[in-house]
């Protein structure tokens, strides 16, 4: 799949001047509370431009809140988040596209119109938006499904369309919130390989939240293990072979298995 997608150098769907090709993410001294509830405390994270950071942590530890803060959907109670040189929520919103847990495809739109939503929102005419998004459909193996309604797509296909919708937005940073949590194990493995190839062909800075340690280590360069609420970083680990083209071989490699055990141990330690 990576051979098939890797030959495309320039992405015609990207609007010109959408910021520099790479924008890093820096989180410093971040704290966030909902009233009395302290969700995040003194959190520091760094993602280099076009790097991928995985965030794993116990359920309800504030991972999704952290993503919404990074994406500019909320303003933190304390600390600073910078996407490149954008620190205010509006600037972060302009540089980050957000892929929610559920695909949230609009059932009244075809797959291509869902994927082209960001272009339509920017005032691109329907035909032009469809053409731009259509290039991505063909590049990423969704050719032929352009006119299909979401209800007729399988879970994996819906997630692919949702990811293309995020890519078409043309933002340098992608915030992915448990993108494959709703899929069965086999489809999830397929989707991880597909996403790895897609990111190889179209590199972005990625912040990936997941509760699946294996998924985080396969898709990211670095994985930060978060503690139970209030979330802080327990341990940061480097992934041995990020986004390898042969996923099955990569995740069974002894080096990978060793780091996975280390991450799981940190996760259990942080959960208590």
């Amino acid at each position: 799949m990576s051979a098939e997608t890797g030959q495309f150098a320039a992405d015609p769907s990207l609007p010109a001047g959408q910021g520099p090709p790479g924008v890093g993410v820096a989180v410093r001294g971040l704290g966030h509370r909902f009233g009395e509830l302290e969700a995040i405390a003194r959190l520091d994270l760094e993602v280099p431009a076009q790097g991928a950071l995985g965030l794993v942590g116990p359920s309800g530890c504030g991972k999704s809140t952290l993503l919404e803060l990074i994406a500019g959907l909320q303003q933190p109670s304390a600390g600073e988040i910078a996407l490149g040189d954008s620190r205010d929520p509006a600037g972060r919103l302009a540089r980050c596209a957000f892929m929610p847990q559920r695909d949230l495809l609009l059932p009244w739109l075809t797959a291509i119109d869902n994927a082209a939503l960001a272009l339509r929102n920017r005032g691109v005419r329907r035909a032009a938006a469809r053409e731009q998004a259509g290039h991505l459909f063909k590049r990423f193996g969704l050719g032929g499904f352009e006119r299909t309604r979401p209800a007729e797509l399988s879970g994996g296909m819906r997630q692919r369309v949702a990811f293309l919708r995020t890519l078409v937005a043309g933002k340098p940073v992608l915030a992915l919130d448990e993108p494959f949590a709703a899929l069965d194990a086999i489809t999830r493995a397929e989707m991880q390989a597909w996403l790895a190839a897609a990111l190889g062909a179209d590199p972005r800075t990625v912040v990936l939240v997941t509760h699946d340690v294996e998924e985080a280590l396969y898709l990211s360069d670095r994985v930060a293990v978060l503690s139970a609420r209030p979330a802080r970083v327990v341990e940061q680990l480097s992934a041995p072979n990020p986004r390898a083209s042969d996923r099955d071989a990569a995740v069974t490699d002894p080096a990978f298995v060793a780091v996975r055990e280390q991450a799981l141990a940190a996760l259990h330690g942080g959960a208590q």
């Binding site: 302009a94 059932p107 339509r120 929102n121």
Partner: protein, 250 residues
């Protein structure tokens, strides 16, 4: 097939029982009435046929009141709901009052509307529109509010403005709600038109019913009621058809 046959068979049976009960005089005896006051379905059918031009003339008047009043109620109800959705201040101020105001018996204030709008089509449209406004406005507000907040967030990161979130996400989400509100409104509309005519009119099915009732023309009263029911069913059918054509994703 059973879904059509069973209710049809029940309807035929009910009409048959009524026919027998009325034509033998059993129903009139039971009610302690003269037989001519209790028309049988066959007599109603013949009244329908014999008075067809009179009924059609008056039905046209009432149909216009129903359809125009419904459309006014629909337009105002939708507009109101959209404004309340876009402005939190207005929503907080108006929504509770709007729900509470459904308790106002509009039919009872119909005479005041005649004082205000005269004897023409005005007061009838006002009654019908007011009756239609509430179910449509409340259903639409609820529909717009039923949008998944995650979908709104997703649209914001895709550079959507407030208006774009409204038209691309919230409005389609609300559509099935709008249709169920409109169906309730369609059932109210004929009642509103007839009541508006009862308060003061010189034509229309309501006016005809009042006159025939006074002259003990009971068969034609029932005939007018049949025509009214047909109008209401027609409106309901058009709405159901429109919903099936428009809300194709359900």
């Amino acid at each position: 097939m059973r879904r059509v046959l069973l209710p049809a068979a029940l309807l035929v049976a009910l009409i048959g029982v009524w026919q027998v009960a009325a034509s033998t005089g059993a129903l009139a005896d039971l009610l302690g009435l003269e037989a001519f006051l209790v028309p049988s379905p066959a007599e109603i059918a013949s009244a329908l046929w014999e008075s067809r031009s009179l009924l059609a003339e008056n039905a046209w008047v009432t149909l216009r009141e129903i359809v125009l009043g419904f459309l006014i109620g629909l337009a105002v109800g939708l507009g109101f709901a959209v404004v309340l959705r876009l402005s939190t201040t207005l929503r907080l101020a108006f929504y509770p009052l709007m729900v509470a105001s459904q308790a106002i018996p509009i039919l009872v204030i119909a005479p005041v509307l005649v004082v205000w709008f005269g004897f023409g089509i005005g007061p009838k449209l006002a009654v019908v529109a007011l009756l239609c406004f509430f179910p449509i406005a409340v259903a639409t507000v609820d529909g717009l509010r039923s949008v998944d907040p995650q979908a709104t967030k997703m649209m914001r990161t895709l550079d959507a403005s407030r208006q774009q979130v409204m038209w691309r996400v919230e409005a389609p989400t609300a559509l099935p709600f709008v249709f169920s509100g409109a169906r309730i409104a369609a059932a109210f509309a004929p009642i509103g038109a007839v009541f508006g005519e009862w308060v003061g009119a010189d034509s229309g099915l309501g006016h005809l019913i009042l006159q025939d009732n006074a002259q003990l023309e009971t068969a034609r009263v029932f005939a007018a009621a049949v025509v009214l029911a047909a109008i209401a069913l027609g409106l309901y059918g058009i709405l159901a058809l429109a919903e099936r054509r428009i809300v194709t994703w359900r």
